[in-house]
Symmetry: C2
């Protein structure tokens, strides 16, 4: 296996990412946000629904910027809080 398929954990993480983004979009339409962020509506829909669990960095960055969502907060929201991979500051 050259490229390992996405694990269920990664897919769940993608779902959380999508939920946070949808939350942040609020009442705005998918079309306007997608256009403002420079991507197709299909892509935004798949990201929000979690069907694209690991979007490109700049895709997420453009969305976060457009939605005034801090990137760090967005990344942190995707980790289930107890799954800390760097507990050296704990």
């Amino acid at each position: 296996m050259v490229r390992v398929p996405l694990t269920p954990e990664e897919r769940e993480r993608g779902q959380r990412l999508g939920e946070v983004l949808r939350e942040a979009r609020g009442p705005r339409s998918m079309a306007s946000v997608a256009a403002a962020a420079g991507m197709s509506v299909e892509t935004l829909r798949k990201i929000e629904s979690g069907r694209v669990p690991t979007p490109a960095f700049f895709t997420v960055a453009a969305l976060a910027d457009e939605l005034a969502l801090p990137l760090a907060e967005l990344a942190a929201a995707c980790v289930p809080a107890s799954a800390d991979d760097h507990p050296r500051t704990a």
Copy 2:
């Protein structure tokens, strides 16, 4: 064309991303950073060298976390300063 190839601008942006990451890695070896961030050394090398201009969001997030680099700063460093895509506050 269903999926548009990456533009030269996107590739340059990827090169800047790689440069910032390499800068942040400092004297640490690629192998240790890649292992700590959960990816192969080849992947890290390609990202740093800009040969992978648009890595996955969580790949970059893991690297930034490992290198103690703020995600927002990293994203901001990839925009050539004058190319502001949201001049509505200007």
